[in-house]
Symmetry: D2
Subunit: 363 residues, 4 copies
């Protein structure tokens, strides 16, 4: 019941505050013998890193990850591998500006965790949101890089932004290669251009918006997951809902399923070249909590960034009514940088599920 | 990592198959001294019980729960109370018809867990869906009744069906008292009548549909929950996603948040008579994974019942292409009976969170 | 952190009080496809059953175990196998005498959990010790029978009583076949005869005594267990210490190691026919928390039965000083019936460790 | 089932190898508002630190602990307090000598985890024992310092060495103030002098020996702990058995209980000034897994240091027979420095049990 850990067999524990000296993670339960260097994790971190376009926060964090334990030179392969002992990852906080925090120290920002942390703990590190900052997700991405190695190369996990504010992509134009080419991780080149305009307008207005991220995992064999309380989809839902600002999660056809009939929604089965095939994937790759072998499809909704330059009514800690506007360096749409985080969470869930599945084989 | 357990401090483990001799649950971690008799749990079970209207399965199960351990006569109050030891609950399966199961033994029903259980385990109790049957949820409802006692009378947890197939309720007509008066747990009397017609048509057509359930928990103090990986909303999302046929979960404004601006979505704060108040509840009672003191609002989407009388294409276990139609006793819309189950899952999460919150107070 | 569960992957949850309607267990995480019938578990239960000689309690409990879930007929083998879903085990309490409990209701018996349960919970089922009765260990023995099946036939787990009161066995006379031939599970026939006399004297005096049980597990491959906080030996120590009345646990040379020198205590290695061999086993088959491939050797000490016919000073619940003597049906030496329980606990630890080990292989 | 974590509510995860860049721990579940600075932990670390007398390893490690997260300045008290978020502790490895490791890289040292780590993981950091080194216990001591703060000042946890090699202390001469005055943590001044001679002889001979540590915790209220599988004593047994080189654990009269009669072993109760009192403490402060309010008394046995200068027979990794002698900087009796580690483990167990107990009160 550790509040800051995720996973059962492949288990990640993170620590650190946004403006403390560093953030870090301990990855426990990673099998031994997996080639691993810090450089392997860096590309995933770079995808999430702030300051890469005008549409995300200008905070400059190189996010260089260091591995302090759990790896060793393997004589046989002459490379560094995991040893089965806990892997300690650390990233120093570099650009944590020394500034006047009195406003967020004394007032509860609407939509932020300021009020609830104060209610629960009576004290909080208010600098940059402290522990509740999305800066914590950098460690998820680093740990997710290790999880991908546990999953191996036959499994791919990709994500894209499919809605930004009220504007959705056109699914007919979906092209995975587009995702790497625009600052929104948008799979639809035309919509990406409209989003750039939308974002410029929002920034001018001191406003923000939300979005929807879609994660697709391919290559998962049938049989991963478990019935009843540890379903693959319930673990994925939990995982995505732990990401900052997420307010909804759905699998396959999700909320749209509610309006379908049973005749429409049935994912019928046919015999394919390599065994059973399905004629549709309304269930998003999961039946009864266990993978079907189809693509896993998960979507999650992110609310608008709560830190905006427009004044909002609130209270200060002495319960006096006041207003607050946030002038820090913030993402006008946190959904963008949530794309690599969604991928990472899927990787963490799947690496854990893979090892848990193996444990039930009793070979 | 127990697959059939839920909760950390207040922990429920269920067992049993749809057509086995009985189903049951063990509730561990329930505090001592709470008045508890089987009769206290029966009203919740009766709400979920099959066979109560023409719109749900005609299977006749009295669902009489027995308590086999964990309670004892308390001399001081002259009543039966919990003793702090595990509470064993059992319900006998009465109306498990002896019939010809060859069809569901040999064929994988589309939308069901037949295929995935076979892939994972190589063997399954196919009678009535075995372990994957929603019959398991009876134990959640029974355990949820105990959870409500842990929460006490100042906390109320209610749920309603807010969408059946494509037809949604009119929120302006919401009346909690209506929920108990129609077979759909519908808070809008006019919509309930239309749903009756919709359902009659579906039944005639051998078809089925889905729905959306909304759960509201009131009276939760600010401060329950925890940051990062054990957020109150991530636990709720996980809980709801463990319910059979659920494909999506959202908190507060949920997926609609994605299209909002930060100015709209801010739940501003004002000083009320009894302390801080919020002018809206887009966040559904949770900020940063911790309760705000507002109503908790959770919605989940249920897919159409997969067991339909209309033939669908599928495979048999020798991978031959075939068709299947299901002629058993099934709910044309399982979302209806999921209403009390959603309430129960919220109760289980909240009782656990209450005790976990207390553990952090170090009094 | 479930108080009444044991194990992580292979996980057992027990419930029930000594004089309630029944006791039971739920075994979760058992792999699918293992042949299992209630009759397979009965021989282990019979070994532990009360009423089998004059040296143990005359309570008559047939201890017939029933399996209520988690098994199904397997068409391929035409036998009943596990399905991967939770296995519910139940034993009815038959000989729970209706009698006058006022003495143990109102007074705290020295050496028993009466006082501490009252301090913790404020209420307890005092009949026959309620939840704190060693009757609970029947479920460990039943679940241990399933664990043995997970371990397979190449692993054997045996136990013997090596000390009863102050009298120890002569190790030179150790003969495993003797264990089944006397009512003490004693591997030394001569000592067994002396123990019979010792026990008769104790019974005449209304007194009781303790003992030491030795458990030996053979056939464990090298590599099971884990470093630091989940060591194989720390799990075994915990397991044995959960058995009623156990006050000490040791592995290999145990407490005697403290007096040895490093030169003596080194388990030197040589090349044997089938790979590495050790010239001694002071470490009891574990190094650094991981199995060496040698026999696992665990000993645990049991205190004298606290329920004796001789009067002892105590308090009643109103804190008045008084005396108590226990005239129920009790084992004068509970260490005897702890022998099969020790075997069962070793089986539970090892089945769990086996599955956890497999999970780290990432095959 | 995290291999490198300890505790359920108050949960410690450690990482790091003996000769890696650093070792560390993450303490999760620590309540908020507890005054905490690195300086508070340093005295406990100094007690365990190497290089403090000729009787322990000359390795020079300042063991300066840093706190990287989870604390913040509290305006009200003007001091640094815990915030309820994870506390990251780090100690740099300073004196990790660059040397020739070929001997321990290629040969399995008898009594060490070299062989078993190779069997389990196929690769290991052999430098200084890597993860299996007792250097890891520095983090237990640091975390134990935080645990003591959770327990508060009314609870004291002390430990002493009561046997070194075959020589035991004289209990009649027990004086807690002596413990701080000699390099052995010996509570008996006369025996301490004899131990100094014993140790000098062992060092001259290139030999080593074991010892027994006794931990006493005072001020624990009645009612902590839990029945059946989470007994206070089973958690303590597990905790002590996780310490490097421990081969046995006992509570109260421990193994000596086996030879007692029930009449002798009964801890009778009388009415004292402040409520119930016991006339003896054979049970070591625990009945039925729950604290009695008496002193908790735990003893554990440590085997002789396996690293000795005397040659022992062994195998190398190609299974060739060879010999090995260890010429590094080692403690001739690791039991000495295990004294503060035993205290720390008791503190970790008790802080966790305190919070778990509170969680069951449902206030």
């Amino acid at each position: 019941m550790s509040h800051n850990s995720f996973g059962h067999v492949f288990r990640v524990t993170t620590w650190g505050e946004s403006h403390g000296p560093a953030i870090g993670a301990v990855v426990d339960g990673c099998p031994a013998g997996i080639p691993l260097r810090a450089e392997d994790l860096q590309p995933w971190l770079n995808k999430r890193r702030p300051g890469t376009s005008r549409h995300v926060t200008p905070r400059q964090e190189p996010d260089q990850v260091k591995i302090l334990s759990g790896v060793f030179e393997d004589e046989r392969t002459n490379g560094q591998v995991t040893t089965g002992t806990p892997i300690s990852l650390v990233i120093e906080n570099v650009d944590a500006r020394s500034k006047d925090y009195s406003d967020i120290r004394d007032k509860w920002r609407p939509g932020h965790a300021d009020f609830t942390y104060d209610m629960k703990y009576g004290v909080r590190d208010y600098r940059g949101g402290g522990r509740s900052s999305a800066r914590e997700t950098a460690m998820r991405v680093a740990a997710g890089g290790i999880a991908r190695k546990v999953l191996g190369e036959t499994i791919t996990i990709r994500a894209a932004l499919v809605q930004l504010g009220p504007r959705k992509i056109e699914r007919a134009r979906w092209d995975w290669s587009a995702v790497e080419e625009n600052p929104f991780f948008c799979p639809d080149r035309e919509t990406a251009e409209l989003w750039a305009e939308d974002m410029d307008a929002l920034r001018r207005d001191g406003n923000s918006t939300g979005g929807v991220v879609e994660v697709v995992a391919s290559g998962i064999p049938a049989g991963w997951g478990a019935p009843v309380y540890d379903k693959l989809d319930s673990e994925l839902a939990r995982a995505m809902m732990t990401i900052n600002a997420v307010k909804g999660v759905e699998i396959g056809s999700g909320f749209a399923s509610a309006a379908m009939t049973g005749v429409e929604a049935a994912d019928e089965m046919r015999r394919g070249k390599n065994g059973p095939e399905f004629t549709s994937n309304h269930n998003g790759g999961v039946l009864g909590g266990i993978s079907t072998g189809q693509d896993l499809v998960i979507r999650f909704a992110i609310k608008p960034t709560s830190s905006i330059r427009t004044e909002r009514a609130t209270l200060d800690k002495s319960l006096e009514e006041t207003v607050i506007a946030t002038h820090g360096r913030h993402d006008p749409c946190v959904a963008i940088r949530a794309v690599p985080v969604g991928e990472a969470m899927a990787a963490l869930v799947l690496a854990d599920q893979k090892l848990r599945h193996i444990a039930q084989l009793n070979r």
